[in-house]
């Protein structure tokens, strides 16, 4: 992974020191809240429902064990013993005090971490494929470019006060595991002519109040020209993005107002005027950064291990976990291990200090000191020898992190919702817990097959409900929490925004509605190989609507579709 040099370390330490001074001035009254708020937000500190929340950046979701242990220490010393992994591969601490924030930033800086650009109208933490560097379908490691973009965008003076926040995701593999098409800029590394690599660039994707799947703006930008190309996109957005209306300020609104062709021609005109040589990354600097991500020299090992095979035969739960949570690694004899933070009944994405330490121990002992955070709010050990899988599993069982549900219905993405968040209209966590309990039988959830179920507590869509195969959106209906269900969304290469299926449900009725939807799918799917989203696209809304609302008068019920979230 990338290691800070003296410049990076000095910058982060000085930034923490600067924030210490700003906090002192706020507490003494030299700064008003109005003056202080943008400063604290630039350091990831929000005021939420119960307390200050500190959002810590985890660049492209990459951590080592030292950093994860430090996060555990922070959780224990300055929070209530836990943190929450977010849908942007970051971690949030929900119970911090303003008094303690400077000390926390110092503790982060000590392990090359910070909370910069986790808030505000700037380029946020760049996200990437959590299997980067180890996936069998990888073309090129996206972490190199995520790190380049991190360095380029950090306090970039031109892009610190954009019309609105700006999110970039990168995938370097055949399969999109970074929800690239739901980002302001999505980058897919692709092969070009004569063995070159470059980027297919997408723009204008996003969720929130007005969801859009990103559109292709460039089929191929040579990799060494990507910085100037992105700078051209940012400049067009910075100039023409709307600053008069927060709901229309994201780049997706601009792209769709102009149309992709007009937006593209404006970007190309801007690109042609830029001093590309001054912006693009020199090859030597790319190589310096890439050297941090060179594959580990792994010796291929046996594809099967007698002890693992024996346990597999004697322990059905281990066998299931291998099937659902463990994936092939590009080096024979190794595996990618998904660690589920979605035990039914628990809060999706919440990790206790002890659990963080347990994962840090495993990474150190069996995982080459590498940990990844996924946007599905789980962790990954990207490189584990096949022969160590039984030992890793046993330790995960003890830490209550061995639920076999990766990509299954109980692997629910859920935002903090009204239990923590100042913006939420409804609770997400309780709904996620109850749905997960209903599908807690792992044999049953495995039989259902891959199914993304995502829950957001408000239209801002931090819980990615638009991209869920089943999406649930909390709305406030005359003072009570209601939940609107969407079907057919997908965050992957077949990216789609879910369709609203009908009138909303009360909190009590949502889990039953999900059971009805799943039962309808199981009844109508061609066979077990036809996934939920494939079946939905084949059979459409009608059978689900009928199962949920009855056939008596579906047209009357349909008239309330699309109800705004504030009714």
């Amino acid at each position: 992974m990338y290691r800070y040099d003296d410049f990076d370390q000095t910058f982060v330490a000085e930034r923490a020191q600067q924030f210490r001074g700003q906090v002192a001035r706020r507490l003494s009254g030299d700064l008003t809240e109005e003056q202080f708020k943008p400063l604290r937000l630039q350091n990831g500190l929000y005021l939420q429902l119960h307390a200050y929340m500190l959002r810590v950046a985890i660049p492209y979701g990459v951590l080592n064990s030292l950093q994860l242990r430090q996060l555990a220490m922070i959780a224990r010393k300055w929070d209530r013993g836990y943190g929450h992994f977010t849908t942007r591969q970051n971690i949030q601490f929900n119970w911090t005090k303003l008094d303690d924030a400077p000390d926390i930033l110092d503790a982060l800086a000590a392990v090359d971490m910070h909370a910069i650009q986790t808030s505000g109208n700037c380029i946020r933490n760049v996200t990437a494929d959590p299997y980067a560097g180890v996936a069998i379908d990888e073309i090129e490691d996206p972490r190199v470019w995520a790190e380049v973009l991190r360095q380029w965008s950090t306090i970039h003076p031109e892009f610190t006060f954009l019309p609105r926040k700006f999110k970039i995701a990168i995938s370097g593999a055949a399969e999109d595991r970074a929800a690239v098409l739901f980002h302001d800029i999505g980058l897919k590394i692709v092969k070009g002519a004569k063995g070159t690599t470059g980027f297919r660039v997408y723009v204008g994707g996003g969720q929130g109040r007005t969801p859009y799947v990103a559109q292709e703006i460039a089929a191929f930008v040579p990799r060494d020209e990507i910085l100037s190309y992105i700078e051209a996109v940012m400049r067009v957005y910075n100039l023409h993005g709307r600053r008069d209306n927060i709901y229309k300020a994201r780049i997706k609104i601009l792209v769709n107002a102009l149309g992709i062709d007009k937006f593209r021609s404006q970007v190309e005109a801007e690109w042609s005027k830029l001093d590309k040589a001054a912006i693009n990354l020199p090859a030597a600097e790319r190589e310096r950064i890439a050297a941090h991500f060179m594959p580990k020299p792994l010796k291929p090992r046996a594809l099967k291990d007698p002890e693992v095979e024996a346990l597999r035969k004697s322990d059905a739960a281990f066998d299931r976990w291998l099937r659902t949570n463990v994936l092939p690694h590009r080096t024979p004899g190794y595996a990618i291990v998904n660690i589920s933070f979605k035990e039914p009944g628990k809060v999706p994405g919440d990790a206790t200090a002890e659990q963080m330490e347990a994962v840090a121990d495993l990474a150190e002992q069996f995982g080459h000191d590498e940990i990844r955070v996924t946007y599905q709010q789980n962790l990954v050990l990207p490189t584990v020898a096949f022969a160590d899988l039984d030992k890793v599993y046993s330790a995960l069982v003890v830490a209550r992190l061995a639920t076999a549900n990766t990509e299954l219905i109980t692997d629910i993405i859920a935002c903090p919702g009204l239990d923590y968040c100042n913006l939420a209209n409804a609770r997400s966590i309780g709904i996620a817990q109850e749905i997960a309990r209903r599908f807690a039988d792992q044999e049953k959830s495995e039989a259902i097959g891959p199914l993304r179920l995502n829950i957001s507590g408000c239209i801002n869509a931090c819980g990615h409900h638009h991209a869920g195969n089943i999406g649930i959106l909390g709305v406030d209906k005359k003072g009570t929490e209601h939940y609107q269900i969407t079907l057919g969304g997908s965050p992957k290469d077949d990216a789609a925004i879910g369709d609203i299926i009908g009138p909303s449900f009360t909190a009590e009725d949502v889990p039953g509605a999900v059971e009805t939807i799943v039962a309808t799918y199981l009844r109508l799917r061609r066979d077990a190989a036809e996934t939920f989203v494939t079946a939905y696209r084949r059979i459409g809304k009608a059978p689900f609507r009928e199962a949920l609302y009855g056939a008596a008068n579906p047209h009357r019920r349909a008239s309330t579709e699309g109800e705004p979230s504030n009714v």
Binding site: G29, E33, L47, Q48, L49, Y52, K97, V347
Partner: protein, 88 residues
């Protein structure tokens, strides 16, 4: 409908409520619910003075029902805040 004035403690971020004597209390039960616009105005004046003194931030009033004299928030949001913990 009666209202209570709330804020977050500046240093800790903790949810606090205003009593008629200007004290900020952590238990909603110890806050004062007021029923008339002039009473609310008086509480808000106290609250804004506390903002000026850098004791609290994010001041606002919210609706409550009085059950045997005890204020109970009308909205789910304020019930969760008053519980001082998530509802899970």
């Amino acid at each position: 409908m009666p209202s209570v004035v709330t804020a977050n403690h500046l240093r800790s971020g903790a949810v606090v409520y205003l009593a008629r004597d200007g004290r900020w209390v952590e238990a909603l039960d110890c806050a004062d619910a007021v029923e008339t616009p002039s009473e609310l105005k008086a509480l808000e004046a106290l609250a804004h003075a506390a903002v000026e003194r850098n004791e609290v931030t994010a001041v606002y009033a919210f609706d409550v029902r009085l059950d045997d004299g005890h204020p109970n928030p009308v909205s789910v949001r304020e019930r969760i805040r008053a519980a001082r913990s998530p509802s899970i």
